[in-house]
């Protein structure tokens, strides 16, 4: 099971392992600490929901775990790779193991739904037939088998977000990081989207970390982490705070 760490734990089996992580924005006298001594251990195959008020540092933590920012202080280990002191090229390579789902769908507007999903396979070596099967399967799984050749501008918000999920899942990443994936969606499609993520993740055995304010989907999580003012609140209190 996952746990908020107090001290060293075996990291080899962990999807994400964080110890004494601090992070700052700005320089000199404007320097402001946004993350305080974060310790976290997430096992493979779990669904974690990270929640908390705006400005509490959730997104900063997410971008650090996603290798989109450099680690300044402390240790951050993703899938056995230490990101402290990682070079730019190493960070770029690490990103390939992670599927991202963004608040805004961030699809490439000049590509069709099919091509957007195909983009995620550009970085992998595979046959045309296998790629085609995977793309068709994942787009069918999100219920878009009849919209494959539509451009994003011709899709609804929920459909676009489902394409984004298909794109994140098609390369079968070991970790999926999602930032408010349901924010732009109504209640029904929001829940649908998360259920699709959960189903596909379970099939593929990947770890999902969701940042959300959306109380309607909290029950899908294996673990809920609450964050406030740059600190993780102790796990024992989380249920009380959230529910």
């Amino acid at each position: 099971m996952s746990q908020v760490l107090e001290n060293n734990v075996d990291v080899s089996t962990a999807a994400i392992s964080i110890q004494h992580l601090n992070h700052y924005y700005g320089q000199g006298s404007l320097r402001k600490q946004v993350l305080f001594d974060i310790n976290l251990h997430i096992d493979r195959g779990e669904i974690i929901i990270l929640t908390g008020p705006s400005g509490s540092g959730k997104t900063t933590l997410l971008t650090l775990m996603g290798c989109l920012r450099s680690v300044q202080d402390g240790s951050l280990n993703i899938l056995g790779q230490e990101l402290r002191h990682a070079s730019k090229a190493e960070m770029t390579l690490s990103r390939r193991n992670i599927g991202y789902i963004f608040q805004a769908h961030n699809l490439l507007n000049f590509l069709t739904a099919y091509q957007n999903v195909e983009m995620a396979l550009e970085l992998q070596d595979m046959t045309a037939a296998e790629a085609n099967t995977r793309i068709q399967t994942v787009l069918s799984a999100v219920g878009l088998e009849h919209r494959m050749n539509y451009y994003p501008s011709d899709l609804s918000g929920g459909q676009k977000q489902r394409v984004a999920i298909a794109r994140a899942l098609v390369s079968q990443p070991q970790i999926i990081l999602a930032d408010e994936p349901t924010a732009a969606l109504d209640k029904k499609s929001g829940r649908d989207v998360v259920e699709i993520m959960e189903k596909l993740a379970k099939e593929q055995g990947c770890t999902i970390l969701l940042v959300t304010h959306d109380n309607r989907i909290l029950d899908l999580a294996d673990l809920i982490i609450y964050m406030e003012d740059g600190c993780l609140v102790d796990r024992a209190d989380v249920a009380a705070i959230v529910r």
């Binding site: 971008t63 390579l93 963004f102 000049f110 970085l123 595979m126 930032d179």
Partner: protein, 387 residues
């Protein structure tokens, strides 16, 4: 059986999605290409027309006054210098040519225009121009001349009327002359039309010209003679009031005169540079706004683990696709403008493969340069900002 998945042709897909922008880019590059082709075409036409006379001379070596610079900047020398070299081993024959601008009266509207008159000995084949070759013996008749097919319309529709069988007489330097045949030489930037006549007729038309003071001497060598050897021997024998050179050097000197001693060469070169800059600015504008519009998408790709290099290649590919797509219509338009210009001005506007390749290379350079400027914007695509 298992074929590798083909990579997505991202650059083309991106260009294709924005039809209007793509068309503007293609139009801009075509425009720049047309401008470059035209400048080079005019320059080429100027030079090739300027040396048509030189290249037609039937002899390996040319003798000129030391002060001659160009067909439009001549000086005379005595033909004795020409006959002085007949004794040199290897020389087969020498022929004098008289050149002078004269006043031609358009027989249709009586307007007077300057015409460039070439006086040759009709007994020798001095000019390798088909019309002159066929008709030179007719010039033994007094007061006859051959008219230039490529002349501008200011001189009257002489060629058409002659070909229709009409007998054409007009005044040259107030002397009645009959047209006895036609030949073809293109007008140049300095000469609007040519007339070929015999040396005897030439001196009749130009009473101010003295017999024996010639403008160009043509020296034909025996087939087994070595041009350089003869030339060296010639130079050692001749005083320095005349100069001897190969026919090729004579043509080169004419081109060099137009290039360096007139503003013409510079003007056209500058035109090419400006067309290049205009094209580069257009491509830069297009690529820059394209990159700017797609920054969030590029940032997304970076977050997905694509290297910066991948995005650089996309932008450079876009620039090369634009270069190729703009080059094709640009070349087609330039070819039609060449044709129209040739019909309107008689300038020999011809396209050659070397120029096509050169303009294509310039287009690619122009586009790559613009891409190199536009990709600097890519660095601002920060994947950390997209969450």
């Amino acid at each position: 059986m298992s074929q590798k998945k083909k990579p997505l042709f991202l650059s083309w897909l991106q260009l294709r999605k924005e039809r209007a922008r793509l068309l503007v880019a293609i139009a801009g590059i075509s425009f720049a290409d047309v401008l470059m082709f035209l400048q080079m075409g005019f320059r080429g036409a100027l030079f090739s027309s300027a040396v048509e006379f030189h290249n037609s001379l039937n002899g390996e070596i040319v003798m000129l006054s030391n002060r001659s610079r160009s067909l439009i900047s001549l000086d005379r020398f005595t033909e004795r210098r020409l006959y002085q070299v007949t004794g040199i081993t290897g020389v087969e024959s020498v022929t004098p040519i008289y050149l002078n601008s004269m006043q031609w009266r358009n027989p249709e509207n009586k307007e007077i225009w300057d015409i460039y008159v070439i006086g040759i000995n009709p007994e020798y084949q001095v000019l390798n121009i088909p019309g002159v070759e066929a008709n030179r013996e007719k010039l033994r008749q007094p007061d006859t001349a051959l008219f230039n097919l490529g002349s501008r319309s200011e001189f009257g529709a002489i060629a058409q009327r002659f070909q229709a069988g009409e007998k054409i007489t007009t005044e040259i330097n107030e002397r009645n002359i009959q047209i006895a045949g036609l030949f073809k030489l293109s007008p140049t930037f300095g000469i609007n039309a040519y007339l070929v006549t015999s040396d005897v007729n030439f001196l009749r038309m130009a009473p101010s010209r003295q017999s024996g003071l010639i403008d160009v001497g043509v020296i034909k060598l025996k087939p087994d003679a070595n041009v350089q050897t003869v030339l060296t021997e010639m130079r050692s024998r001749l005083p320095n009031d005349v100069k001897a050179m190969t026919r090729e050097d004579y043509a080169k000197a004419e081109v060099a005169f137009w290039n360096a001693s007139t503003p013409v060469g510079y003007t056209f070169d500058l035109g090419v540079v400006i067309a290049f800059i205009v094209g580069a600015v257009i491509v830069y504008q297009i690529l820059y706004s394209d990159v700017t519009d797609h920054l969030p998408e590029y940032a997304t790709l970076k977050a997905m683990g694509f290297r910066d290099r991948y995005l650089l290649i996309v932008v450079f590919q876009e620039s090369l696709i634009l270069a190729a797509l703009g080059f094709l219509p640009g070349t087609a338009i330039a070819l039609s403008i060449y044709r129209i210009t040739n019909l309107a001005t008689m300038l020999p506007m011809t396209m050659d493969l070397g120029r096509i390749v050169f303009v294509f290379i310039l287009t690619v350079l122009m586009s790559s340069f613009s891409a190199a400027m536009a990709v600097r914007k890519l660095q601002t695509a920060d994947p950390a900002d997209i969450f």
